[in-house]
Amino acid sequence: MRVNRVSGRVLEGPFEPVYVYEAPVRFWHWTMAICMVVLAATGYLIGSPLPAIGGEATFSYFFANIRMIHFIAAMLFVVLFLVRIVWVFLGNHHARSIFVPPVWSAEWWSGLFSQAAYYLFLRREPHHWVGHNPLAQFAMFAMFVLGSIVIVLTGLALYSEQYGWGSVWMNAFGWVNVLLGGSQMVRTVHNLAMWYLLLFAIVHVYMVFREDIMSGESVIGTMINGIRMFKRAPR
């Protein structure tokens, strides 16, 4: 199989299965997905708490537990995200793709537009890609990677606040506060970033199902066993 090295477009066959997502990446993907669900759910509840519960405050730690779960999932998310960045250097060529979209490549851009045209039903058939197609790559970068960076930084900034100015945490992340003009803005951006990531998530889920069904490539299975299958030859 001949593939364009920069954009990943499949140029010609034969179309044997390709090992795309290595095990750590797959493990990372699914753990990350669980984290995001937990974070979104607890985060939403922190922003819009459930109706007050009664009883004696001493015996209840309900809201604090929600926050605790949020913090644990958040720390896991941060670690996973950092691990993923390390994997950019350790992993294969595909491990890099969503972090460094080859915006300098004309071929990549043309692929991005052709894929967009395909999704807008302006093109009957897509090209075939190894790994992410350029549009997916772009979405991954702009929505998932950048969104995650924003939500991680604002999240850590909010987490730092409980330690107060002058603490190690604040020294590390207090600048986010200053940059955004205060704690209230940090929360708002954090909250917005959650919706941005959720928006990414639903588009992502839709696309993988659609592609799995409609394109000639395996998609969901690839994230499970790592192997991209080609069901039929690209036109």
């Binding site: 007050a52 009957r124 205060g182 704690s183 708002t188 919706w195 959720l198 639903i202």
Partner: protein
């Protein structure tokens, strides 16, 4: 021979004992302990009073009013025994030419050694003529008095951030001090107004230790603005328990539950209210049943309703069309739109797929 604070207090009839008591109270209020008290006592015994020029721009005088509410130390003692308040719009007995002469004399005599305290801020629109001082734009007077000052204290949220007159659309272009005076150390003491004891505490600290207080990244003294109202709030256990006031005067309100859901900004507001409290430690907004409105934070007027702890985001220029909401509302709406778009996309895809499959089938038939 100039007098030290101690000489002055002694000669004003304050006993050595009550002087030392004052020092330890001040030290305690600054969290310094016995060693700090001795340091304060020593400082006050050896220094003469620091000259202060206190001017007011676009403001409401709540800072001056708060200042005279100070109980430890009493405003009276600050004015008579600690500072030499040579120019103060609210308290000075002298008027006009004499008062202006006071300012000029202080600037000349104590060049580089006086403190400029600014309450309020200068408007820059209309060439500064939304606030006129001696017939001149206030901003010109501010620059003139700041030129030879040792340091500038920005009293309150007006001077520190801009406050109410700088809320959107800021018709007068009211501008905080640090954006006009850029070559002097500036200590921001935000709040609308700041707590009285925080104001006198900042001043006393500077006099006692002869240095500027340690500031955070936004220029506020860490000792008072290092933590959020939330971090020291006595209602925090109810927050952790998930016990919230759902509406004013409900059962939870009467039990003193957390005010987070009725808009308390304590979790995003850096101030000493929950620990130092107001008016001699009597109460603070949350204790009296109203959420914190975040009055010591930058731009707190434009962060949405005081009764929603989530910010209302208003699309610039579109707010009048009703394009606004909290991040959750905007997010849900965006998700809804995206969901609908995807459903439509899925439908079109299915139709295309079906028709294309049909066509392919026909083609195959022909090929056969």
């Amino acid at each position: 021979m100039s007098d030290t604070y101690y000489d002055l207090m002694r000669r004003q009839g304050i006993s050595r004992r009550s002087f030392l008591k004052f020092c330890s109270l001040t030290a305690a209020s600054l969290g310094l302990g016995e060693a700090g008290a001795q340091q304060i006592a020593q400082a006050m015994e050896t220094k003469q009073r620091t000259p202060v020029i206190w001017i007011e721009g676009l403001e409401c005088t709540c800072c001056s009013e708060s200042f005279i509410r100070s109980a430890h130390p009493l405003a009276k003692d600050v004015v008579l025994s600690m500072l030499s308040l040579d120019y103060h719009m609210t308290l000075s007995a002298a008027a006009g030419e004499q008062l202006r002469a006071n300012a000029h004399e202080t600037i000349k005599k104590h060049k580089g050694n006086y403190i400029l305290a600014v309450e309020g801020n200068p408007p820059l629109a209309e060439e500064g003529n939304y606030c006129i001082y001696y017939g001149k734009p206030f901003v010109d007077v501010l620059r003139e008095y700041a030129k030879d000052a040792k340091a500038v204290i920005s009293w309150g949220s007006c001077a520190s951030w801009g406050c109410v007159q700088a809320a959107k659309p800021n018709p007068t272009r009211a501008t905080p001090i640090h954006k006009v005076i850029t070559d002097k150390p500036i200590i921001k003491v935000p709040g609308c107004p700041p707590i009285a004891e925080v104001m006198t505490g900042v001043v006393t600290y500077m006099l006692t230790f002869d240095r500027l207080p340690d500031l955070d990244a936004q220029g506020r003294p860490k000792m008072f603005y290092g933590q959020r109202v939330h971090d020291k709030c006595y209602r925090r256990p109810h927050f952790d328990a998930g016990q919230f006031v759902e509406a004013f005067d409900d059962e939870g309100a009467r039990k003193g539950y957390c005010l987070y859901k009725v808009g308390c900004k304590g979790p995003t507001t850096y101030n000493a209210c929950s620990a130092t409290r107001w008016n001699e430690g009597l109460s603070f907004p949350i204790q009296s049943g109203h959420g914190c409105i975040g009055c010591s934070e930058d731009d707190f007027w434009d962060k949405g309703s005081f009764y929603d702890h989530l910010t209302t985001i208003r699309a610039p220029g579109l707010a009048n069309l009703g394009v606004e909401g909290t991040a959750n509302r905007i997010g849900l709406a965006a998700l809804g739109v995206a969901g609908a778009a995807l459903a439509a996309h899925a439908a079109v895809s299915a139709i295309k797929q079906a028709s294309s499959r049909g066509r392919n089938d026909r083609v195959s038939d022909v090929e056969k």
